[in-house]
Amino acid sequence: MSLEKVKEVSDELMRVTGVRGVIFSSSDGLPLHTTISDTELEEKSSALSAVLVEVCDRALKELMNKEHSWIGVYAPDSSGIIVLKVDENSNLMVIFDKEAKLGVLLYTIRRIINKLRT
């Protein structure tokens, strides 16, 4: 997964209506590439991505013996975050507001993940 490709797909994701931020981070919770300018927030969201991915993986494995596909966390106004594992070494977090259409967003995320994995 090259950094150029990551930047390219980040730009693509940022063009989706309602997307407010994209964070690519390592599986041990360190920032790789983000569209967030606040360094502290960038570090914290990278750490949170790693913890969310690991905890959700553990929950599904313990309860259903399955792996997660993606994680959605929503606020009451329909804004929220989507987190998912890109590969064994990296995670993606997408922050969206209430204007975002979830179907379009998930479709785009799946498409770019496939692009990154090839």
Binding site: S27, D28, G29, L30, A47, A50, V51, E54, V55, D57, R58
Partner: protein, 143 residues
């Protein structure tokens, strides 16, 4: 404070996090715990943000009394911490006996923070009992 109690707390934190989450999630959480632990030590005048390895060895041995002697050996790729006669042996023995991955201990917390303050991220790669005590091997990444 009784050192058995400190060992119990450390063992409980490591085992509990490993049971509920994974060692990877635990490592991320413990990075934040280490940061706050180190801030606490700085506020108490025990640690400082720009410690040299000699200062770190002195703090761990003389101020925190965590071992009889500590040696920090460093090269381009690794940082090796040689811990002679550690005092919190109950916790470490129990961890090794039950094969609990080490994610938080006083050595890990302080050494990773001192290196982070220098702009160097280090990650625990290996931990082994030796004839003199314990050897912790950290891998280095710069950013």
């Amino acid at each position: 404070m009784n050192k058995v109690f400190v060992s119990a707390v450390l063992y409980g934190v490591n085992k509990g996090i490993n049971n509920l989450m994974s060692s990877k999630a635990g490592t991320v959480i413990c990075r934040y715990i280490s940061k706050e632990m180190f801030n606490f030590l700085m506020n108490r005048g025990v640690a400082s943000p720009d410690m040299k390895n000699k200062d770190l060895e002195e703090m761990l041995v003389n101020k925190l009394k965590l071992a009889k002697k500590i040696e920090i050996i460093e090269d381009d790729k690794n940082v090796i911490l040689k811990i002679y006669q550690p005092t919190l042996t109950d916790f470490l023995e129990e961890m090794m006996k039950n094969k609990v991955p080490l994610i938080l201990c006083p050595f890990l917390a302080t050494v990773t923070e001192v290196y982070r303050n220098r702009g160097v991220r280090i990650f625990l790669k290996d931990g082994n009992p030796t004839e003199y005590g314990i050897e912790l091997v950290f891998s280095k990444t710069r950013h």
